[in-house]
């Protein structure tokens, strides 16, 4: 029988418990979140005359945790109203309810005795066959099943979410010796398809995979940091995005996580392991002093960094390891970055960084060699499979390259020799692999991704890719056309994909050319077009640099043509002989949002941040976005609706540059269409699903829609409100005089010009012309150009 998850009980409502509850609510599950009953009344409860037996008091701990979670940022929930799917309760009154729950997740305090007491109760109350899992990050999972029933044991394992559960991809599955195979298979598929996570099966070893490797990496650095003579900002610069890791890099991340938490995890690993790196998990003296002084990071307002305000200016000071005082370190500068600046591909950047002869190179070699050695020695201890370690680091720590992926990028063969020279010899299986003539851990062949397996001593296809599509894997054999900015892939079954690969995937001439080409190709020889990519973001918008250059040089005619081209390309997405599916993820802003709005259907990843944000650069959406809002308003209007209010809702989405914090919010802001556009939670299956939908639209018979002349505009009826509103926001100092000008122009385009009769029907092209005219007029203003310049040169939104 197919296992179905309708109801999930989460036991323990701390940061992780509440976050896990929210994420199940995100995907539509009914959730029961419970926690302990408080021992005593709070002052507030006393003043309200409540007693310990009142429901309100008994549920206080769980209710407080959940509401704190719901208020936290970034939000654990796709949309606040989804939180209604969570019911709260307490262990005394509500634990019995788990009898009809499909999955019970334990997230209580990390104490084996307490967990065992809870599992004993759960064992008595749960229904036969329901899943029971623990979210422990440090306690042996095997030790928890002692004394449990057979059925409990078969359906029990560890499921380790990472904080915050909504955002971090990793989901470690830790089976015990008794866990049934079908439970593991189910969890792998379910966590990926339903929860949008990357499942990694881990052995029941201390800290499992990601925390073991990740903590090693941090502790190795903490213990050796003084050898390099590098400052904290320097190390963060070296260990940040340049090597494919988070911007918060090492020390800033440590501050965010909290030094006490890090030390707790490190101590735990030190006590429970006995490997060659055990000494590195010792807490260095300076860190002990910092702990004593409560310099724990963000939670105590100072850690490795401290923010101070001097003369009204914010300054970030950092610890000097020699004096343990906060100092203002100079801006980090490394000559090797001059060489890597222009290299977007991380795998190409890595060998240059490691070969550097300067301080950066010394640092990189030492820390990566240590990492390679440690990781190789952990196979097969923590995992039989190499790729699982990389998967775990990609998904749990946000490392774009896990240890073996990074090693591949710098060349395994040559590195091994260098590692030997500095006494960091890797595990013997690495030599074994090289001797077999296999010189990389991974390879792609015939659209399949292979990884070296140390027990069979050969490449094996990485499982779990069935039903998924990865452009990275298809890249070798399935490219139909490409220019510098865009690649057209053949996804098979008559579906092609247009992939952007510019910086932040901004849309410029190359992408416009590519999009037109893709529609031409699809119309000629294929069934449908999907627009998706595997960058960090779908698209940050139009490339404003091009607009700026033309405007500065006063090439008005050319600028007008460029804007027209953008508009025409968007209209080509809407009006072609084939279905066009946009599959955005991450940021889909400005032009990226306009592109989505002109597709036949949007299949958005749940983590899509969509918005028409042109106001920030002193413009209105000029690629058909403003027009499209007028079109959608027209289509939404029902007889007798209060039209001015409907107009205002749409107007404010653009006027306040509102960006959705999830794809679900994009419906409310008017960027996605209810009943047409869809959301998928799984990034892994995202493109495969988009392709299926494209095929479906094609196969049910797709006819190019006729161009529209029936858009009902409101004209003068709303213009009074626009003028009054814009003036009010300006008078209230919520916006500048220039914003007021933009707001008025936006209103005029969305109103369809100041036509006397409301509900006059106009054509799309008429609206596009109005939109382009307003856009061009704004481009001629100095203040708009200053805003664009600020974005280009400083990456900052200027308010002028």
């Amino acid at each position: 029988m197919i296992r179905r998850i309708k109801k999930v009980a989460v036991l323990g409502s701390g940061v992780m418990g509440s976050g896990i509850a929210c994420h199940f609510a995100n995907i539509g599950t009914e959730v029961l979140l419970i926690d302990i009953v408080p021992n005593e009344l709070s002052d507030k409860e006393k003043s309200q005359g409540l007693s310990l037996s009142d429901k309100q008091v008994k549920n206080r701990i769980v209710n407080d945790s959940l509401s704190a979670a719901l208020k936290s940022k970034p939000s654990p929930i796709y949309k606040q109203e989804f939180a209604k799917r969570i019911t709260t309760g307490n262990f005394d009154d509500d634990l019995h309810k788990i009898e009809d729950y499909d999955w019970i997740i334990e997230v209580v305090i990390e104490r084996l005795d307490i967990k065992k007491v809870i599992f004993e109760k759960v064992d008595q109350l749960r229904k036969h066959g329901s899943l029971v899992t623990t979210n422990t990050s440090g306690i042996s999972v095997e030790s928890m099943i002692e004394g449990r029933s057979d059925n409990f044991k078969k359906n029990f394992c560890g499921t380790h979410f990472f904080n915050p559960p909504r955002y971090l991809q990793l989901f470690e599955i830790i089976p015990t010796s008794s866990t049934k195979d079908d439970v593991i298979t189910f969890l792998e598929k379910y966590s990926s398809l339903f929860l949008g996570k990357t499942p990694v099966i881990a052995k029941d070893t201390p800290a499992f995979i990601a925390n073991r490797i990740g903590t090693f990496s941090i502790m190795e650095l903490f213990n050796n940091v003084q050898n390099f003579g590098l400052t904290i900002p320097e190390i963060d610069k070296l260990t940040g995005p340049v090597i494919g890791r988070a911007k918060s890099a090492t020390f800033r991340t440590a501050d965010i996580v909290g030094l006490d938490t890090l030390v707790h995890v490190a101590n735990n690993i030190k006590e429970t392991t006995n490997d060659e790196a055990n000494e590195l998990f010792t807490i260095p003296d300076y860190l002990k002093i910092m702990l004593d002084k409560k310099w724990l990071g963000s939670k105590t307002k100072q850690g490795f960094f401290k923010k101070v305000v001097e003369d009204g200016k914010k300054k970030f000071l950092s610890i000097d390891f020699n004096t343990l005082e906060y100092v203002e370190a100079p801006r980090p500068k490394f000559s090797v970055f001059e060489k890597t600046k222009t290299i977007d591909n991380l795998r190409e950047r890595m060998p240059i960084l490691l070969a550097d002869k300067g301080r950066a190179g010394d640092f990189y070699r030492a820390s990566f060699y240590a990492l390679f050695q440690f990781a190789s020695n952990r196979i097969p201890e923590i995992s039989n499979d190499i790729y699982k370690v990389d998967d775990a680091m990609n998904a749990g720590f946000g490392w774009k390259l896990g240890p073996f992926q990074a090693w591949d990028s710098v060349g395994v063969d040559t590195t091994v020799k260098a590692m030997e020279e500095v006494g960091k010899k890797p595990a013997s299986w690495v030599y074994e692999m090289l001797e077999l003539g296999i010189s990389s851990f991974y390879k792609v062949e015939n659209g399949l991704l292979y990884c070296y397996n140390i027990s069979t001593k050969s490449y094996e296809v990485i499982p779990g890719y069935d039903g998924r599509i990865s452009l990275e894997v298809l890249r070798q054999d399935n490219i139909l056309w490409e220019n510098n900015d865009l690649t057209i892939f053949n996804l098979g079954d008559g579906i092609i994909n247009a992939e952007f690969h510019t910086k932040m995937n901004t849309i410029g001439a190359g992408i416009l050319e590519g999009l037109n080409k893709a529609v031409d190709m699809a119309e000629a020889d294929f069934k449908a077009l999907v627009i998706s990519n595997e960058g960090d973001h779908f698209s940050a918008g139009a490339n404003v640099g091009m607009i700026y250059m033309l405007a500065i040089e006063q090439e008005w005619e050319e600028l007008d043509l460029a804007v027209q081209w953008f508009q025409k390309t968007m209209m080509r997405m809407r009006y072609s002989a084939i279905p066009v599916i946009a599959a955005p993820h991450g940021m889909a802003l400005g032009g990226g949002c306009e592109l989505c709005m002109h597709s036949d259907k949007v299949i958005a990843h749940a983590e899509t941040y969509m918005g028409l944000v042109e106001f920030g650069v002193g413009l209105i959406p000029g690629g058909g976005g403003t027009k499209e809002f007028a079109v959608r308003l027209s289509d939404e209007l029902g007889n007798g609706d209060i039209r001015t209010n409907a107009f205002l809702n749409r107007y404010l989405s653009i006027g306040q540059a509102k960006v959705s914090t999830s794809a679900y919010e994009a419906f409310d802001l008017g960027y996605m269409r209810k009943g047409i556009d869809e959301v998928v939670v799984s990034r892994a299956y995202h493109l495969a699903y988009a392709k299926k939908v494209a095929l479906q639209l094609s196969e049910k018979g797709y006819t190019q829609p006729p161009s529209r002349n029936d858009i009902k505009i409101l004209g003068k009826e709303v213009m009074g409100m626009v003028y009054v509103g814009a003036d009010g926001f300006t008078t209230g100092n919520y916006m500048s005089e220039h914003d007021k000008l933009i707001a008025e122009k936006l209103g005029l385009v969305m109103a369809g010009g100041d036509i006397s009769q409301a509900l006059t029907e106009v054509s799309e092209q008429y609206l596009l012309n109005l939109e382009r005219k307003a856009f061009m007029e704004l481009c001629t203003t100095r203040l708009t150009l200053e805003r664009i310049q600020s974005l280009i040169t400083k990456g900052k939104i200027l308010r002028n």
Partner: protein, 390 residues
């Protein structure tokens, strides 16, 4: 003038949009107040009443359909008494008393019920469909400036500080709480039995409660507490939810009769509206409206400010109240002795009548002779009326 006020009542004032009257319609509240008022005058045959004049600032939706006429039908068991709805925004409820008095004085009528009703829970400031004339709005956007922003303009132009405003607000709340505690308003409030149907536990349920006490004033309001509130209308503004009038629901009505009726039914007059004037000011600082209206009414009536025993100055905002008091040199001791709109609420079109009912009772209690009701009005006007106790 020979038109006399012989009685007046009001409802308790509910907080909008989530207070006691949140689901109660303005016509229902009005009918209950008028029925209660007429109970005091069993000798008057209701068919003899010439008109019901109802003030309302947003006469649409629940306040639409010429609510005044419907209120007359709902309040009396006959169809003969007509009804009208009058709008002078926040002065509407005083305007109707002036209309009644003037008609009677002119011999056009003998008995008129005048007052006002507003339920801001149901109809927002600005109403449901905001459609200013686009040409005028473009040329003169400040004519349509939101009330909160006009308050900021007044703060700026008259140099009223945040602290002064917060102190004024706390003072208003304390006076109102004291008045409620000592039962000052008890006699003038008509208790209203609120019936609500609601959904709970999969079923339709009903509940009832008697609403008879103003619910606006917040106990424990302090200057320090108010200082923590964020600006409500402008990024760098001084007006907050704490030092601005509350949005409210309520109604108030008085009975105005001619000398002839007074004698015919041997009625005891309470007061007469001695004078009433309205004046225009710059719309962007509408809050100083009374600065124009008060001298105008004093001048016209021949009285001096020093003759006035009590003033009800509608507290649209602490900023404009302070500015008016300072500009005209009004003795703050005689202003809003039982608290003002910041504490008790401001049901726009009902406010003029509500303040009239309050001041007549307070003059009676303190044996005063002249009382003034004055307020600022949106789009730049001020109104001031002087009551003379008989």
């Amino acid at each position: 003038m020979n038109a006399y006020i012989v009685g007046g009542y009001r409802s308790a004032i509910g907080k909008a949009p989530r207070g006691s009257f949140r689901f109660t319609r303005p016509d229902d509240i009005s009918a209950s107040v008028i029925k209660h008022l007429l109970n005091d005058f069993p000798q008057i045959e209701t068919k003899k009443i010439d008109d019901v004049v109802v003030g309302n600032a947003f006469p649409e939706a629940e306040s639409g359909f010429n609510m005044g006429r419907l209120i007359s039908l709902m309040s009396m068991d006959n169809i003969e008494v007509p009804g009208s709805t009058v709008n002078r925004y926040c002065a509407s409820g005083l305007e109707t008393i002036a209309i009644a008095s003037a008609k009677i004085t002119a011999g056009l009528a003998d008995i008129i019920i005048a007052g006002g009703a507003e339920t801001m829970s149901m109809i927002n400031m600005g109403g449901w469909r905001m459609v200013p004339n686009p040409d005028v709005a473009k040329e003169h956007p400040k004519w349509f400036l939101s009330m909160g922003l006009t308050s900021e303009m007044v703060s700026k132009e008259y140099g009223i500080t945040r602290k002064e405003q917060d102190e004024f607000a706390v003072n208003s709340v304390n006076k109102a709480l004291a008045a409620i505690d000592t039962g000052v308003f008890k006699e003038e409030i008509v208790p209203f039995t609120i019936k609500e149907n609601y959904y709970d536990n999969g079923k339709l349920q009903t509940r009832e409660k008697v609403f008879d006490t103003d619910e606006g004033p917040r106990k424990g309001t302090t200057v320090e507490g108010l200082a923590r509130l964020k600006p409500a209308f402008a990024a760098d503004g001084l007006s907050t939810a704490g030092n601005s009038s509350q949005m409210s629901d309520g109604a108030a009505f008085v009975l105005v009769v001619s000398e002839k009726i007074l004698k015919q039914y041997s009625l005891t007059p309470i007061a007469r509206l001695l004078d009433y004037q309205v004046a225009g000011v710059e719309p962007y600082k509408m809050g100083i409206g009374p600065v124009a209206a008060i001298p105008k009414v004093l001048n016209h009536s021949g009285l001096n400010l020093s003759d006035i025993d009590l003033i009800e100055l509608n507290e649209a905002f602490a900023s404009q109240s302070i500015a008016v008091i300072n500009e005209l040199g009004i003795n703050p001791e005689i202003v809003n002795v039982n608290g003002g709109a910041i504490a008790l609420g401001h049901p726009l079109g009902a406010t003029g009548a509500k303040l009239s009912v309050q001041i007549l009772n307070e003059l009676k209690r303190t044996s005063g002779k002249y009382g003034m009701v004055t307020m600022c009005i949106g789009t730049g006007q001020g109104a001031a009326g002087i009551f003379e106790m008989i």
